[in-house]
Each structure stands twice: as C-alpha cells, then as structure tokens.
C-alpha cells in the first residue's frame, strides 16, 4: 500500500487523481504525452446513445479565474465509443469511469448497459448535470425524484458501480445526494459546472452560440468545497471532488473538505501534464512530511469512510 492509493467502488486507484470528464476526451491526445498508467483513474467524455455534434461555436469564453463552455456533449455515440475508443485502454491498467448522458431515462439505460457489458469500464458516472443541452440531463439533476428513479434504473441494468455526478445549480445539493444514495448509487461526483453567461459587447448578445455555458476553473472552487463539505456530512457515499483544482494545495483542500478522490478538469487545458505532475507532487509531499496516507491529513470528524 502506498501513501496515495485509494479504493473506491469499481475504481482501484494508485493515486486519488483523475482527469474530469470532458477535459481529457477519450485519452487519445494526452495519452501521447505521458503514460496513462500514472493516473489514479480516467473519467471519459460523456457518451450518448447516438453521435452528437454538439453546439455551434463559439463554445468557450473566458471569465475571471474561470471559463465558460458549451460543448453540448459532442461525442461519437455509444457504438463508436465502444469500437473505436475503448480499445485504446486495453494495455492500460488505470480504471475507467465512463461518463454517460442522454435525454431520456432509456438513453442512460442503453449506454449504461452496453458500456458495463464491455468489461472495460470500472464504474459509470451519470451526468445528470450538464447545463449545456436543452433537452435533458439537467432536469434529472435538479429534481430529487427523477434523479433517484434514474439511478435505480441504471443500477438495474449495470453490473458495475454507478456514480452520480451532481449539479451545483440547485438550492440544496444534499437533497439530491441523499435521494440518489437511497436509490442505490455507489458514489457521487461533484461538482459539475455552474450555469453562467458572458456578453459580447460588440453584438449586445451572449458570446457563446448556446447563450449559456458551464462555469469551471479556480473561480468555482469555493462553491465546490462548500458543497462537498455539506454532502460529506449528509451521506456515506464516496465522493469524487472537483471544481477548480489545479495545484497540490487544491487537492489537499478537497480531501480535507471530504472528497475521497479528486478530478481535474479545466486545468488540463492550461497544462496537459497537470494530472501527472500533481500525482507526483502529492506523493512527494506526503513522503517529505512523513504522512503515511493521504487520508491522515483529514481532521478526524471528516474521516467518514
């Protein structure tokens, strides 16, 4: 056992760091930059039953210490993900967290069932929180009953653990967290992006083609930390924490606040090597301080798991 390995349902991680969904594609590009075996896990880009082109451009905009994106769940669709993307990981031991999305419950069931059957996925992550597609997803993330029902139905067709990725665009995130816990979720991912907008002063209109986009990056970290802290005290589920992580200190903050693992999103765009660098820095830092295991940095009362 190392200082940094952790075991989450379906994800046996050599360190607590994974790229966040949508910020690493399907590993193709960054896999050329470093050995993906160095990662704790990998969250894949959202997969939907059919291929999606996503929204028109511009799809990104910059804000103070953050960015807005409205990619719109662009992905090659379930079939191509299985045939063209997953084989890339055949020689890689790092567990995969497959992010799945859709417009109807049936969409989620279809993708969940097919992906879990491939035997190549460690766990599923239900994206019920994408603010960038009008038709759905987000409704499941804001209504506890719908979230619970979706969780139940996906659990029923999956033979691997199911994480639910929560939306921060809600009045009380603990209500959704508890609802999906009762419905049988194996873990939680939080937070997804906050719904935001930037104006284009030249046109007087929103800058993004989709008008609204998801806010990510350092700007949202205090909101992520607050939500993780709240959820940690209300559920027993393991938490994959994310939102603005880009430094070693950020990772420690998330672990202290109650996350069991940490996902890194936007920071990959500024530094494609960031996940690798952070995992090395984390191990070295604990070694230097002679801390036996990462979780020992938590104050006792947070150490629920």
């Amino acid at each position: 056992m190392s200082r940094v390995n952790i075991d989450l349902p379906g994800l046996s991680m050599k360190n607590p760091i994974m790229p966040a969904s949508g910020c690493f594609g399907f590993g193709e590009e960054i896999g050329k930059l470093y050995d993906l075996n160095e990662l704790g896990a990998i969250a894949l880009k959202a997969t939907t039953p059919q291929p999606r082109y996503g929204n028109e451009t511009p799809r990104v905009a910059e804000t103070a210490s953050g960015m807005l994106n409205a990619i719109g769940l662009q992905n090659p669709g379930l079939e191509k993900v299985i045939t063209e993307q997953l084989s890339r990981f055949d020689t890689i031991e790092t567990p995969l967290l497959a992010n799945i999305a859709g417009t109807t419950m049936e969409d989620y069931e279809e993708v969940a069932e097919a992906l879990s059957k491939t035997g190549k996925i460690g766990a599923l992550e239900l994206n019920i929180s994408c603010p960038n597609v009008k038709e759905g997803g987000i409704a499941f993330g804001t209504d506890p009953q719908l979230a619970a029902e979706l969780t139940k139905r996906v659990k029923a067709v999956s033979n691997i653990p199911v994480y639910v990725k929560l939306s921060p665009n809600v009045t009380d995130i603990t209500v959704i967290a508890k609802a999906v816990e009762r419905a049988g979720a194996d873990g939680l991912s939080l937070i997804n992006t906050l719904s935001g907008m930037k104006m284009d002063r030249n046109t007087g209109k929103p800058l993004l083609a989709n008008s609204v986009g998801g806010l990510s990056g350092p700007a949202i970290k205090p909101i992520a930390i607050r939500m993780i802290h709240e959820v940690r005290h209300q559920t027993e589920l393991p938490i994959i924490g994310m939102g603005g992580v880009s430094t070693l200190d950020d990772i420690l903050d998330f672990i202290i606040a109650g996350a069991d693992a940490v996902a890194v999103g936007t920071a990959n765009f500024i530094n494609p090597f960031v996940c690798l660098e952070l995992s090395q820095a984390l191990e070295q830092s604990l070694e230097r301080q002679q801390i036996n295991h990462l979780y020992d940095i938590r104050p006792k009362e947070v150490h629920l798991r």
Partner: protein, 258 residues
C-alpha cells in the same frame, strides 16, 4: 509538442498595437511546417486563465529562436506586450498541422493572401516556398496604414501587393479587389485571415488548389476539449467535424464550412 518556459529575446511594437516577439527554446527544434502555432499562457496566475493561440511567423533553428507577431488587443495579448527581454513565457507547442508545403513543386506560382493579423504564418510559408523553388506572390490586406507590417519582409521573397480598406496605404479596398485589378494568376492559393476574406476567396476560386488557415476560440489547443470544431462542407448528417487546433488550423480548400 513541448511545454516550455521560453526566453523572450525581443518584444517590440512594429505597428500600431502589433508586436514582434522573439522567443528562444528547445521547442523551436520541433517546428515542422509553416502555419503551426503556439499556445501561450500569458500569465502565471488565473487571470487570464486560458492560453492564447498565436501563429509561428518565422523560425531560426540554429539559434533555437522563433518569431511571433501579435496584436495587443484583449487581456492576454496586452499582458504579453508587457514582457521584457529575458523574461520567460510558458508556451505549449508547436501545435496544429501547418500548410502542406510538400505538395508544392518547384516552379509553381503560389499566391499567398493574408489579412490583418492573419499575415504572420504566411511569412514562414513564403520563405519555405521560395527555398523549394516556387514563385511567391503575396497580397496583404490591412484596415489602414497604421497597422501595416512586414511588407518589406515579403518583398524580399517575391512580388507583394498591399491593400488597405481605407486606402491610406497601398491599393485601396479588399485583397480580392487587388487580385482582380492586377489580374494575378497562380497555380495554388494559401490564405490566412478573417473569415469574410476567406469566404470571398472561396467564392471567387471555388476549385483552386490550396489551403486556408482558420481561427476559432480554443480551450486546450491539443484536440481534447472540442471547443474549436467546425463543420465539414460535405457532411449530410451534420455530425462530421474537424478540430481547428489539431486537424487544422490549415484545411484544404473547400473542406470545412467557413
């Protein structure tokens, strides 16, 4: 592709708000073709957060140096303009595919058309084409006299026609007006500049051999985030696409929707 703290060797204003920056580092050794770009982190903190894509204008592999030209306009590029000699800049690159110079045979006449801050990559391109024995004709369009740059540099490599929209320098009007007026003929066309210019060229020469370089707002610059996609022209179900950062920024004439 490298992520490197490159050393600033020079950074000066060469036209109104237009800066020429010389950067030194090992990354220069990896530049393969004109039209590749750098993704530059203009700050060490989170404002601005995202990198800025800037074309490579010229490389000197022996000196391990390259030149970029940029317009100091928004937050990031204005910050870049404050860098001094010997400062370091966090650069990711080289990125993108570049112009297909290998397709050009010796003796061909190549027309290069650049608009505004789309001009820089054409300089490296003109240099390489000349080295390959091609004849280079360059048409450069700017909005006005104050923002004209590098016309002398191009003059050393072939005929150059400069136009300004307000007529304050060179020919008056758009680059397409100059091409018409001068009845320029050529075997191949490479272009980089604002989309309306590219569109006018495509409309004018639907079947020419050539390539164009596109701009799009980017996240990662390496093909991961899907921020920079564009549609392809021949795409019945609308799900086909290209990423400007990694499939482009240079695309074959007529491949993508402008």
């Amino acid at each position: 592709m490298k992520k490197e703290d490159m050393i600033v060797r020079d950074n000066r204003e060469i036209a109104q708000d237009i800066y020429e920056m010389v950067l030194e580092g090992n990354l220069v050794g990896e530049v393969e073709r004109p039209g590749e770009f750098l993704h530059i982190n203009t700050s060490r903190h989170s404002v601005p957060l995202l990198r800025r894509p800037i074309s490579i204008c010229n490389t000197d592999k022996q000196k391990r140096q390259l030149t970029i030209l940029y317009r100091a306009e928004g937050q990031g590029t204005r910050l870049l303009s404050t860098y001094s000699t010997n400062d370091t800049v966090d650069v990711l690159g080289p990125l993108g595919n570049g112009f297909p110079v290998g397709d050009v045979s010796s003796g061909e006449t190549v027309l290069l058309v650049g608009g505004g801050i789309g001009v820089p990559p054409l300089y490296d391109l003109a240099t390489v084409l000349r080295e390959q024995g091609a004849t280079v004709i360059t048409v450069l369009g700017f909005s006005n006299k104050n923002v004209v740059f590098y016309e002398n540099h191009f003059q050393k490599l072939g005929d150059v026609y400069v136009s300004t929209i307000d007529g304050s320098f060179g020919y008056s009007g758009f680059v397409t007006d100059v091409i018409d007026q001068k009845k320029l003929s050529f075997d191949r066309l490479f272009a980089c500049g604002p989309v309306p210019m590219l569109r006018a060229l495509e409309d004018k020469y639907p079947n020419v051999k050539g390539s164009l370089s596109l701009e799009e707002r980017m996240g990662c610059g390496i093909g991961v985030c899907l921020a920079c996609v564009c549609h392809t022209q021949n795409d019945p179900d609308g799900s086909d696409y290209r990423k400007v950062c990694s499939d482009g920024p240079v695309f074959p004439w007529g491949e993508v929707v402008l």
